[in-house]
């Protein structure tokens, strides 16, 4: 049965032989359909990429302008071999898409990539795709992951920043440079008046430009550097990738009252994760669906077969089989190896 499947886990990830392409391959292939531009989904060196315009802009920024990208608008159908391929919003980051694959005959598949069901200010809202076989991620596929209301989280982040600013303590939010950083900035701006300057790390800045180019509105920010440090110190906020935690670069922005550092991630739910990174605090804000979000998304597709990829694949798949009566199976990919959000 599995051997006849339209999409199979192979040497480079998920491949569709009938269409002659791979979805988010882990090593270079001639034809790659890309769900979104995070590093673990968009490998360099492929012959040709197919992606939404938003993802295409991010791919050019990340992999270089010379790559060959065919832009496919959300909802448009393109034929590859004997299958029709269309991309549908996944709500994860700018341009992120689910890949719907319809064969000449037989079941329709949809590969989710990474997705978030709750709408946010910086990614196109998730759209359920009716299909027969749904391939879902499971990054947060355990019932302990239930996100708090995101407006409340934005409010807490802003209060934390304000309290820090009042005691001349610079705030630093550690967030992935692609997607999370921009969402944090837009959410803060939506939560109220900002107490100081936002300074962003170079990697974040580059991607903010792409977001703005795609029409996403972000609050004012400066490139955090020696030249702007004085304006950031004390009352400002630094937005930087998690790898910058504890670096001399980040400490260079500390105000008279020092610096408060917080992680912004779904992992902040778990106490151990916060302690591990020796951070002061954590805000639970994720670009992935939480447990109820995953279950709801699966239900909305109407799919009776559900493939589970990267994350808590084993327990999630078992839950779908035993508690939801779905024909669920696991698919091995190398996505999410670095737990990149």
């Amino acid at each position: 049965m599995a051997g006849d499947d339209l999409i199979l886990a192979g040497s480079c990830g998920l491949g569709c032989e009938a269409g002659g392409f791979w979805v988010d391959p882990s090593s270079p292939v001639p034809l790659a359909v890309i769900t979104h531009a995070h590093a673990d989904h968009a490998t360099a060196g492929c012959g040709r990429y197919v992606a939404t315009p938003g993802t295409a802009a991010l791919l050019r920024s990340r992999l270089g302008g010379e790559i060959e990208v065919e832009e496919l608008a959300f909802g448009a159908v393109r034929s590859f071999g004997s299958v029709g391929v269309s991309l549908h919003p996944a709500g994860h980051v700018l341009g992120s898409a689910q890949v719907r694959v319809e064969p000449a005959r037989g079941p329709v598949w949809c590969v989710s990539g990474d997705y978030k069901t709750e709408p946010g200010p910086t990614a196109e809202a998730f759209e359920p795709v009716p299909c027969d076989v749904f391939v879902t991620e499971s990054t947060f596929g355990l019932p302990v992951f239930r996100w708090p209301e995101q407006g409340g989280v934005a409010g807490s982040m802003l209060s934390w920043w304000r309290a820090n600013a009042a005691s001349e303590r610079t705030s630093a939010l550690l967030a992935y440079s692609l997607g999370k950083a921009q969402r944090v900035m837009a959410s803060l701006a939506g939560a109220g008046e900002l107490p100081g300057v936002i300074g962003v790390h170079g990697a974040v800045e580059k991607l903010c430009r792409v977001y703005e180019g795609a029409g996403v509105s972000l609050p004012d920010y400066v490139h955090a550097s020696k030249a702007t440090a004085d304006s950031i110190k004390g009352t400002g906020l630094v937005v930087a990738p998690p790898a910058q935690a504890g670096t001399p670069w980040l400490r260079g922005f500390a105000g008279d009252g020092g610096m408060g550092t917080a992680q912004v991630s779904g992992w902040a739910t778990i106490r151990g994760r916060r302690r591990w990174q020796a951070l002061d605090t954590g805000f639970v804000l994720s670009d992935h669906a939480d447990w109820p979000g995953l279950l709801h998304a699966i239900e909305m597709t109407g799919a009776q077969r559900v493939g589970v990829t990267h994350g808590y694949t084993r327990p999630f798949s078992r839950y779908l089989r035993e508690e939801r009566g779905l024909d669920s199976f696991m698919l091995a990919t190398r996505w999410g190896d670095e737990d990149a959000e």
């Binding site: 302990v144 994760r273 190398r334 670095e338």
Partner: protein, 552 residues
């Protein structure tokens, strides 16, 4: 309030900064009701109430309340690294709790303990389920986490005794030694006990504490190096560097107190030593090392057995028969107070003379004088140091004859001070074979590694130790990612990985062991560095390790 205590617990858990912990504890004590603070102090001193619920009861109730299957609860526990935390995240947010918060009056810690913890002690299973269920209805998520830790046994708050007594001392405005002494006999969590803990100092209550400890500098030179930096060997006294617990024994006004270097009072864990000090004159303070002495081999027992004794909360009954083979012994090497007089400014040689006057060098008794090592050249001392391993010591100590006893680790000026000349750790190149997730803060990463060396015929890799310290966070993260990608087999939480990566493992001691497949066990194993220059087939063999075993 229960909420304030749960916040304190999480703050202590989230930080490793001593000043932040101190501030958190002192802040809590200042604002808490005495009845609540009494319980908080009891929990922080490791005093646990009797009410204990079995994991089975807690698990089945959690499954019932959360609606997830039992196997899923276990999957969550594995991911979170802690059953109590996993349950607190799975339960629906309490319905009764928000009211309490709005009025600003949550449930007090004392009330919570009296209503939902203590009654568990005498309750049958059905009653326990009812009590725990009621608590869950009343408490918010992080309170549930702390409550579960309280009733599941082994509740530990992330604060050292020394830090707690410092915080209490700062709130009470008395010395830390006074608080240590007041806490020493155990603490009864009543409002009265808390108020007398915080009371002002009574006449004669101060002056029971230890002196600040004198710490040695480490030297790693060869014998020739010492010759040029330290000069004439006759200016120096040499002693063995014992591998035990540094202590000060204070005998004053007919009472004997044993203080650890953390200024914790540990008298009640070592009644044999206290008994052995009965003959010392009043007004005597000795500095030395506490060891568990193995009578049959006439050398110190391993550190682990001493640790077991130290961690015991209750005083062991004095049963001479039981500890005949291994009994705690203090090896004193200095006198700080003699005849009630502070003798620390006296030169080392004078203090040594005083010590030998108090304690004749002896292999008997539980307070002994640590012997000196006779040597006439740095080479001969080097030879003595070479025999340290067979004697079960860490190396040698060098003390300048003219040195006063000073506080802390004082940089040795030319020709003075205390120096420790330890043996180099032993090393072996081993292959990473299995990895396990860590616990607590490391629960979501593979940070617990098993290392193997080749069998003598190099036909198979044999695991000989586990190690988890020595790598930087960045190294651990990259190794974690590698482990996930290079797993060859999974058995429960254990991942077997490709035998590719070689690490230099350092350790202090090595002993035969029937419990380990390798037939030996190493002590203080740690990763020194990765041998990226070596392939797995070039790693060491068991024979290399066996050659390091002490001959017997």
């Amino acid at each position: 309030m229960m909420r304030a205590f749960a916040d304190l617990y999480l703050r202590l858990d989230a930080t490793t900064s001593t000043s932040a912990k101190l501030e958190a504890v002192a802040g809590y004590l200042r604002s808490a009701e005495p009845g609540d603070a009494a319980w908080a102090v009891a929990f922080m001193t490791g005093n646990r109430p009797k009410g204990i619920a079995s994991s089975a009861v807690v698990r089945s109730l959690a499954v019932e309340r959360s609606g997830v299957p039992a196997w899923m609860l276990e999957a969550c526990r594995d991911a979170v690294g802690d059953l109590s935390e996993a349950i607190s995240l799975l339960l629906p947010e309490a319905s009764a709790a928000p009211d309490a918060c709005e009025t600003g009056r949550g449930l007090g810690l004392r009330d919570a303990v009296e209503r939902y913890v203590l009654p568990l002690g005498g309750a049958c299973e059905a009653e326990r389920r009812e009590i725990i269920g009621e608590a869950w209805d009343r408490l918010r998520r992080h309170e549930v986490l702390v409550y579960l830790k309280m009733i599941r046994g082994g509740f530990r708050v992330g604060v050292q005794r020394r830090l707690l007594s410092r915080a209490i001392a700062s709130v009470a405005g008395v010395s830390q030694a006074t608080i240590e002494h007041r806490l020493a006999g155990g603490f009864d969590p009543s409002e009265d006990a808390y108020l007398s803990l915080l009371a002002g100092e009574r006449e004669g209550e101060s002056g029971r504490g230890p002196y600040p400890f004198f710490l040695a500098h480490s030297v790693q030179e060869s014998a020739e190096g010492l010759a040029s930096s330290l000069g004439d060997p006759s200016d120096w006294i040499a002693e063995w560097k014992w591998d035990g617990i540094r202590v000060q024994l204070c005998r004053r006004e007919g009472e004997t107190l044993l203080w650890s270097r953390g200024e914790e009072l540990i008298s009640h864990q070592f009644p044999e030593v206290i008994a052995g000090a009965r003959g010392l004159p009043d007004g005597t303070v000795l500095d030395g090392e506490l060891l568990l002495w193995d009578g049959s081999s006439d050398r110190p027992a391993d550190f682990a057995s001493l640790q077991t004794r130290l961690n015991r909360k209750r005083a062991p009954a004095e049963q001479p028969g039981l500890f005949e083979a291994r009994s705690p012994v203090m090896l004193a090497f200095d006198v700080l107070e003699s005849g009630g007089r502070d003798v620390r400014p006296e030169p080392q040689s004078v203090r040594r003379g005083l010590l030998e006057g108090l304690l004749a060098e002896s292999r008997e008794g539980s307070v002994r004088c640590s012997p000196t090592i006779g040597f006439d050249s740095w080479e001969s001392l080097g030879e003595a140091r070479g025999s340290a391993r067979e004697l079960g010591v860490e190396g040698v100590m060098l003390k300048h004859r003219g040195s006063p006893y000073v506080s802390g680790r004082v940089r040795p000026e030319a020709g003075g001070g205390w120096l420790k000349w330890k043996l180099d750790p032993r090393t072996v190149d081993a292959v990473l074979l299995h990895a396990l997730p860590g616990s607590g803060r490391r629960a979501t990463m593979y940070t617990d590694y098993a290392f193997a060396v080749w069998s003598d015929d190099r036909s198979e890799l044999v695991v000989f130790t586990r190690a988890y310290s020595g790598l930087s966070n960045a190294e651990i993260e990259s190794l974690d990612a590698w482990i996930r990608r290079n797993t060859t087999r999974r058995t429960g939480p254990v991942r077997e990985v490709k035998a590719e990566r070689v690490f230099e493992i350092g350790f202090e001691g090595i002993a035969r062991s029937g419990r380990h497949k390798a037939g030996l066990a190493v002590r203080f194993p740690r990763i020194l560095r990765e041998r990226t220059d070596k392939r797995a087939d070039a790693a060491d063999t068991l024979g290399v390790l066996r050659a390091m075993l002490p001959s017997d």
